[in-house]
Symmetry: C2
Subunit: 716 residues, 2 copies
């Protein structure tokens, strides 16, 4: 009937508007049941359950065998890690897989049969699930004794497929690959030509006296290649040329040529290429988000305009205000936006809305909330008014900064004075006393500011929240110190009591004071610009960070599978647990380099090690390559680390630089434009950053896209 | 009289046009004698003498005490360097100073008195000369025994002031300094806050067992600062965190935070800032060159139009063709351009030229020469024509590439096979035989190509010249080998004869063959693009390279003055020749690190060491800082190296990256536009790269500038 039809249209409009708000694609089934399923699937609870499942399955690696969460990862001191019984992690895994199965079925159903076949991501999702489940069954049938678990490497895929931003970013990276491959090829040619040159130049001489360079670095082809590859990462920089340079200084020309060509030209060329590709990346992605939003709104307009209650105005379709109000009541959106739209709908005197008016109403969604701080309290007494003026003034804030600086300087002085003293000679009185004084000042500052500004206004500034929180923590710590150890007096060196020793308490207080000093950032203009740029960057980098996590995860798991147990302690000396050609000397021991914690036995270690060494692991690569360069496992390690270096250091860091350049230059340009507006605090989003440059999609583009919708037949 | 006036005008026009060709400023004296002096000063001989003088005075550092040009710079093996007698280098220096005095006087006179006072470079030039001459007199009066010679540090200034490009670049760098200073300040704040944190975190513990981190890296404030500064250069990357990480893996968070913030964010921020500043740099400089050219031409037009022979046409000034021809005869310019201008002057039927026509005539200067290869010879015989077709075809070139690749592969195989053999076991027959075969093929290829293309056409391609030259050298080497050692046969291991052993000969031949393989570059499209970009870059970088040389020179001289003789050999162990606090162990010996050649005794060593380590010297900084971190000379060394790192690594490398990005992105964009024209070989210049974007200066701008000329009174 007409009523049921109208209900369907209203529901469609609601879903379209919600799609527009969330920048989702509108290409999904549009019948009543599917709409209900769609809203249920995208409800907060469902999405939260999905995210939780992904987190859980990724986190499993931290407790699974052979991982550990021991305090140290040093094989010599480490206690045996907790080993979950067979079936525990596996049953959690099965639960996660079931959730994913539901997820993929709902998604596939909603997209529709025809679209499903075009969607490679969905297909890959199903394939991954099948492989994982098979692997799970194999695992259980071996009672968890098998070592190779393919499903662990596949896990990051679940993270990848759930984020549209990450999929988009991956596509961009993919399109840059051919050019990157050219440069990597160029690097390979460069490397191999120079390797041949080096082998000819530093050949074994007949007298055997002068070939130190040959012995150390250019003994055979793999050695030479490794030496020069590591030189490309600058990790063995002066060492590799010292023997030759010591013989004749002209040899340095070879190394200069190699490093200048390879490191200065080719490596930076990679930066240039990636930057060139990603120059328009942010803008393009924001532009396509805008298109999705406009399309959703337009689709809502179209379905509403086909409501039967509307007068059959053939020339121009329009929407009745009543229907829109009905829709708005049921749409889930930010309450501020909803109120603003309802308000402007009321002020609009007309009864029917055209497409343009309809779009204009929803432009409220694009606007940024201008944050308004609550007003200060108004005091009656003259004294209080003067107080308010004095302590609400910026100069009072500056005074606070100066005091914080004085505190830092005093801590620094005490540290320098105490540097050479034995712990037993150290007198904690002075530091205790001055910290006590400064913390009292901070407390006073906080109270006075709250008095002057009122609690609400005080808390509305992020810098004040930061300040206040740290002051309260410091106060609690100080009171706890006094409660346990009494008041400071000369020669104040009490015994250890409670959770922390006095010295640890003082250290903790000092660290918090150093941290609190960061409050000066918003007061320095350039610093503030840099910090806001960095924060923006972090927002825009989420997709990249996700991809990085995926890569890290895969590498960490592969590393564990390849090199698990390769480092074992033997008395006080640990050797790499493989057969050698030339014995222990040749391959080196971990003991020699004191890199004990660097083994590949557990996931946590592997993971944070990689995170740290992202592009800084050149050194470790060098050491490990050197260590592991003799036999088969060493060869594998070499390839593994070179791949890791290329991906993490070369490509990812360059991506990061490209994005930073893009963001920073845009921001810098804007700073000049908006100098006058800088007082108003905007809640900045990427969309706003590009607002001046964005192009509105035309009516034709929107309608063309709408007519291609697989599940929606528009009346005209 | 009128004749003399006319002569003056003609001469002025000549000078103006020459200024336009060389992009020189036209603000100089314009009377007859000054014009003669001006042309003499800018004649090739004079400019050549000036350049030679600058080269000589800079090169003096290589033979002056305490420099040396010994083969090795290792203090243990080095022979005593040649010490020039007192007065030799000093008299060469005096000659150079005299040339500079003449130079500065002529320049000052030509600029004119009023301009002189505004020109800070000229003032600085005079000041430098006065200081240098005073220092020279002091030096001679001490009979060359004094050690501090200020004039040596001042020498690079002579290089700097002679190049207008370098002065302009310096100005640009100067304008970026405030923002760079902000980031460096931010880095300093980052470093100091984290240092305090580290000192509190890794404090000395009471049990003394667990404070390995404290002992090694965070013993006191200077130590901690150094550790973290070196971590910023990533030189001590995993080492610095291993002791703490071994204790508790949570400590790695501190290091991750530090490196991510410092190295990934702040360092790249510097890149972004410098790139942002230099984005328009090339365009701006090309634009101002264009303005100078147009201004010179316009000035020539103005003086020619005031010639008395011209009809007094009040409405519009114009120039007679005769006068212009008279001027053109005497102007020194590229003969191709001159011919083209004279030709178009003849085809122009009119008798008088307007300003626009006059400018248009000289646009020939901006055009790039289209390089035309001479035609191939035309053979009568059918056989020869077929030959010509076959060997002139690109496929024949590709075949040559394949053969060169095969040669490389064969050398590689022999190298791998011989890697583990003793030199006495090695059989040189195989390599000798295949090289002989390949060189014969190369000779054949060259002869056939010359036959097909004719000698002139063959030599007009740079790739053929490269090829041919190497082939001839290879042939000579091979003939020499056979002449000395006879033809190769199995077991061909003759005794050492002549200049080089057979093995050295073979190695040399192999190196040349590897080098010859570079001929494939123009055949690979992406490689060709990269190589042309790099070549362009090298052209544009000349000014930067000059400034880098200036900085290197100053640093090298300062390094010699500060640390001369700091490393002395003591038997087999060399120690740093200063008094120690804690003895030798603490400061470390050179022997331990085997960095013998790294001392600061001579200029050549210092200079090429720095050139190599530009931004790669992080390692050496680390080692030297570590070595020299105890007493006064060590403190100095620390400051010296930090300054060096900041300037060479941080700032210069970022400048380089900025220019590379600029050049490459521009080229990349252009590649898409000009795809069709790519067959024609242009002699590319920076001016041409930007031609589409350049703005022509307007008539008003030109006339305004002309009316401001200090030495020229225009008639109207």
């Amino acid at each position: 009937g007409i009523g049921a039809d109208n209900d369907l249209y209203i529901n469609q409009a609601i879903v379209f508007i919600e799609d527009a708000i969330q920048y989702r694609s509108i290409n999904h089934r549009m019948d009543s049941k599917s709409l209900w399923l769609y809203r249920w699937y995208y409800s907060r609870t469902c999405q939260w359950i999905l995210s939780l499942t992904i987190t859980v399955i990724l986190a499993l690696a931290f407790i699974e065998k052979p991982s550990s969460l021991t305090v140290t990862s040093d094989v010599r001191y480490r206690l045996p890690a907790w080993n979950p019984p067979c079936g525990l992690t596996e049953s959690i895994e099965l639960l996660c897989f079931l959730v994913f199965v539901v997820d993929v079925s709902v998604k596939s159903y909603l997209v529709g049969w025809e679209e499903f076949w075009k969607n490679k991501w969905l297909m890959a999702y199903i394939l991954t699930l099948i492989v994982s489940l098979t692997d799970w069954i194999v695992s259980l049938s071996f009672f968890c004794t098998e070592t190779v678990r393919i499903r662990r490497i596949l896990r990051p895929f679940f993270l990848l497929q759930n984020s549209s931003m990450m999929k988009k970013t991956l596509k961009s990276i993919n399109s840059t690959l051919p050019e990157m491959a050219s440069v990597v090829l160029l690097l390979a040619v460069h490397l191999s030509l120079f390797t041949m040159f080096a082998m000819l130049l530093f050949a074994r001489t007949k007298d055997g006296q002068q070939d130190k360079e040959w012995v150390a670095y250019f003994r055979n082809l793999p050695d030479s290649l490794t030496s020069l590859l590591v030189l490309l990462t600058t990790a063995n920089n002066p060492d590799v040329m010292i023997p030759a340079y010591s013989k004749n200084r002209a040899y340095s020309i070879f190394f200069i040529l190699f490093t200048v060509l390879g490191n200065l030209f080719l490596m930076n060329l990679l930066t240039a290429i990636i930057y060139n590709q990603f120059r328009g990346y942010l803008l393009k992605s924001v532009q396509s988000s805008l298109f999705r939003r406009r399309l959703g709104i337009r689709a809502a307009f179209e379905v509403l305009s086909s409501l039967k209650e509307a007068p059959a105005n053939a020339q121009q379709s329009c929407v009745s205000v009543g229907a829109l109000q009905q829709v708005l009541q049921k749409v889930e959106m930010d309450s501020r936006c909803k109120q603003a739209i309802v308000r402007s709908l009321k002020t609009c005197s007309c009864d029917q809305l055209s497409a343009a008016q309809f779009q204009k109403l929803f432009e409220e969604l694009d606007k940024d909330a201008i944050k308004q701080h609550p007003p200060s309290p108004e005091y009656q007494s003259q004294f209080m008014q003067k107080m308010q003026f004095a302590f609400g003034h910026p100069y009072f804030g500056y005074l606070g900064n100066v005091v914080a600086l004085a505190n830092i300087v005093s801590i620094c002085v005490v540290l320098v004075m105490d540097a050479d003293k034995q712990p037993s000679e150290r007198d904690d009185f002075f530091l205790g006393a001055i910290n006590c004084f400064f913390i009292l000042y901070y407390l006073l500052e906080m109270v006075l500011k709250i008095l002057a500004m009122g609690l609400k206004r005080y808390l509305s500034y992020p810098s004040n929240r930061f300040d206040g929180l740290l002051t309260v923590i410091l106060l609690i710590l100080e009171i706890a110190t006094f409660a346990v150890y009494g008041f400071p007096h000369p020669g104040w060196r009490p015994e250890f009591m409670g959770l922390l020793s006095l010295w640890d308490m003082v250290r903790l207080v000092n660290m918090l004071i150093v941290f609190r000093f960061l409050r000066i950032i918003p007061n320095m203009k350039f610093m503030a610009l840099v910090v806001t740029t960095l924060l923006d960057l972090v927002k825009n980098l989420r997709a990249f960070a996700g991809i990085l996590v995926v890569v890290f995860y895969a590498f960490a798991i592969t590393g564990i599978m390849l090199f698990q147990g390769a480092v074992v302690p033997m008395g006080n000396i640990s050797v790499i647990n493989t057969t050698y050609n030339n014995g222990t000397q040749q391959c080196g021991t971990y003991e020699q380099l004191e890199y004990w914690p660097n083994n590949f036995d557990d996931f946590a270690e592997n993971f944070d090690f990689m995170a740290l060494f992202g592009h800084f692991e050149v050194e470790i690569i060098y050491c490990l390559i050197y260590l592991l360069s003799v036999n088969l496992i060493c060869r594998w390690a070499k390839i593994y680390f070179v791949a890791w270096w290329l991906i993490s250091s070369v490509i990812w860091v360059n991506l990061f630089v490209a994005l930073l350049l893009e963001n920073f230059i845009h921001k810098w340009d804007r700073r000049c434009h908006r100098e006058s507006l800088s007082d108003i605090e905007y809640q900045r989003t990427v969309e706003l950053m590009f607002r001046d440059v964005l192009e509105e999609p035309t009516e034709e583009e929107l309608m063309e896209k709408l007519l291609q919708h697989p599940h929606l037949q528009l009346c005209r």
